[in-house]
């Protein structure tokens, strides 16, 4: 309908209007700039965090499973006393015998003890009671020496494994095997050195001293109703559901839970954590989106306000344009293009600032945001939204301009 010159001239005119009123245009676009900058920064942070977390999960392995006692949700505490629902040795044995989809399994219980080697004493050290399968289920292998064998477990022998932090803090030789340490005064033979994992964001930080003892030994040292969880490795991620139902069936049978009664334990696979994390990330994105929606709304109102001012300042110009043959549609498009150009510029500057923020994030040490980046979909979304804000909030002033009576407009002072 309108020739291309009209669009080129309108955009040029819009840019020259914006340039002629630099301060005003900048203040007007500020709402959009802040909105787009903040949402792109939040999305960049989330993307960085997500990439990192998923990488961690990958490293841990998707075929890991955890079994731990858990009250049914909403159930009163006194109905399910801790002593009843905690995992028991017999249940552990039953899972070992009855769950063929599980490849490796190990209980794990924590004690806090003091560890002594000669003059060196460290207090409050985490001492873990484990089976030898724990190295598989946790992905932490033996570097020097050996792990526990069935004799160690069966006889609850006083043997232990250390990690390198413990070796260092206790000032032992690099190969600590064959030496003895005192755990709360008991003499334990060191038989191996356990790998330390890279620092992780899940609190699996193994940079502090750790000592491992046979699970049966830990059971003897613990209080009678002690708490442990079960780490398991399933045959493959494909049989995750089978493994889960095997464990569920075994435990429900052992505990005599009726068909209509809820589980008093939880079987959790890594997949679930990934799903939960993704849901959490999506939730945060939605909330950030909502906040940005508000700032875009405010920005849009700013644009509408300034466009109304612009229409009233340029009433004579509108009158003249109509006199030389501009149709109402042409006037409407001209002002709409001006609003959209303004909000697009805001979106562009906002994205640039968001990019700077994202770049800054990757430089923060220990923030786990090395991979923060604004994904393509967010860039497109930012432009679509800022353009949309321009159209929606520019529409009212543009309609107002297009409806001006040319005679009245030309007479306007």
């Amino acid at each position: 309908m309108l020739n291309p010159l009209f669009y080129i001239r309108s955009i040029m005119l819009a840019l020259s209007q914006i340039w002629a009123n630099k301060t005003r245009s900048f203040l007007t676009a500020l709402g959009i700039i802040v909105g787009v900058a903040s949402v792109s920064a939040v999305i960049a942070a989330l993307v960085g965090l997500k990439t990192k977390v998923l990488e961690e999960f990958e490293a841990v392995g998707a075929s890991r499973m955890f079994i731990f006692p858990d009250r049914p949700s909403d159930a009163p505490e006194n109905l399910y006393p801790w002593e009843d629902i905690r995992l028991k040795q017999t249940e552990l044995d039953a899972i070992v015998t009855n769950c063929p989809s599980i490849r490796a399994i190990s209980p794990s219980t924590d004690l806090g003890m003091s560890v002594q080697n000669g003059d060196q004493t460290i207090t409050g050290v985490t001492v873990k009671g484990i089976w030898s399968d724990w190295h598989q289920t946790s992905g932490r292998s033996i570097l020097i020496g050996r792990s526990f064998n069935s004799i160690d477990e069966l006889n609850a022998r006083q043997v232990c494994l250390l990690n390198d932090a413990a070796v260092e803090e206790l000032q032992m030789q690099q190969d600590p095997t064959g030496s003895h340490v005192l755990l709360d005064g008991r003499r334990f033979l060191v038989i191996g050195l356990v790998e330390t994992l890279e620092e992780s964001i899940f609190g699996m930080n193994t940079s502090s001293a750790e000592v491992f003892i046979p699970f049966s030994m830990a059971a003897k040292l613990q209080s009678p109703n002690f708490f442990f969880i079960i780490n398991a490795l399933i045959e493959s991620p494909d049989v995750a559901e089978e493994a889960e139902s095997e464990v569920r069936f075994t435990l429900r049978k052992m505990r005599g839970i009726g068909p209509d009664e809820p589980d008093t334990f939880e079987v959790a696979a890594i997949d679930q954590f990934i799903d939960q994390f993704k849901a959490l990330a999506a939730g945060i994105t939605a909330i950030a989106g909502g906040i940005v929606g508000i700032s875009l709304l405010v920005g849009g109102i700013g644009i509408m306000n300034i466009m109304l001012v612009s229409v009233s300042e340029r009433t004579r110009e509108i009158g003249l344009r109509k006199a030389v043959g501009a149709t109402p549609t042409a006037i409407l498009l001209q002002f709409l293009l001006e609003a959209v150009t303004l909000s697009f510029l805001g979106g562009f500057i906002g994205l640039a600032i968001g990019r700077l923020f994202a770049f800054g994030m990757t430089r923060i040490p220990d923030a786990n945001l090395e991979q923060a980046d604004i994904p393509m979909w967010a860039v497109i979304l930012a432009f679509v939204f800022s353009g949309g804000v321009g159209v929606i909030f520019g529409m009212f002033p543009a309609i107002k301009a297009s409806r001006l009576d040319p005679i009245e407009a030309l007479r306007h002072e």
Partner: protein, 242 residues
């Protein structure tokens, strides 16, 4: 006849009050006439001008422009008539301040439905040539004198070679020397075959036209050739003689 007006009326409603700006005007204007429309404030001359310029539509009566009934046209058709068949010149020039003379002259082309890209610039240049401002193409309005501004506005008005050139108090903001220059320019354009309507309250400007239409209270008071109109009348204004 280029313009045929029959029993044209315009009623404005201001609140509950009705204002009869035009009360049954009959008018014929032929091609290549140069007509002055005069009348005191409130006589309806501006309203008539707006009707003739297709800026406004009548309440009753008919207006045929080149045989087409303007009263029955929609906003888009009126805009296209204004674009192609009307050229407007205003008292206060109405140039866009941030655009060059050439861009100002080319403004109607933005809203034209046809015409190739390269020829637009050429046509705008031609129009500036015709008003004698070919050396001012890149100047902005604030770098031009009042007379030059009005020449740019006239160049813009004649760009599309309209059937009618309408000037609303074109010399109202100009001194006598410049007024004479602009009137010379009008005479020159008229000599090239252009129909020109000038709304003015200056007798000496009207004296430069062929025909003078005087309005009073929304009616045509007199419609005479210029010689008869000024006969025995004291010609006021700035003392311009054409």
């Amino acid at each position: 006849m280029l313009i045929e007006i029959r029993n044209l009326s315009k009623v404005y409603r201001v609140g509950v009050e009705e204002i009869h700006a035009l009360r049954g005007v009959d008018l014929d204007i032929g091609s290549n006439e140069m007509v002055a429309i005069m009348g005191s404030s409130g006589s309806g001359k501006s309203t008539l001008m707006n009707m003739l310029g297709c800026l406004d539509t009548p309440t009753s009566g008919t207006y045929h422009l080149g045989g087409r009934n303007v009263g029955q046209m929609g906003a888009r058709e009126l805009a296209s008539i204004r674009n192609e068949q009307m050229g407007f010149v205003f008292q206060s020039f109405e140039l866009l301040p941030r655009q060059t003379a050439l861009q100002n002259v080319g403004l109607p082309l933005i809203y034209a439905s046809s015409g190739g890209g390269g020829s637009r610039r050429r046509r705008a240049k031609e129009a500036l040539d015709r008003v004698g401002l070919s050396d001012r193409t890149t100047h902005r309005p604030n770098q031009l004198s009042g007379g030059q501004k009005q020449r740019v506005a006239i160049a813009r008005a004649i760009l599309n070679r309209p059937q009618i050139l309408m000037a609303d108090e074109p010399t109202g903001n100009l001194d006598s020397t410049t007024t004479l220059e602009i009137l010379d320019l009008f005479a020159q354009i008229h000599a090239e075959g252009q129909t020109i309507l000038i709304v003015t309250h200056e007798d000496d400007v009207a004296a430069c036209c062929q025909r003078v239409i005087r309005l009073r209270d929304g009616r045509v008071d007199s419609d005479l050739p210029v010689a008869e109109d000024i006969a025995g009348r004291h010609v006021g204004g700035k003392g311009v003689r054409c």
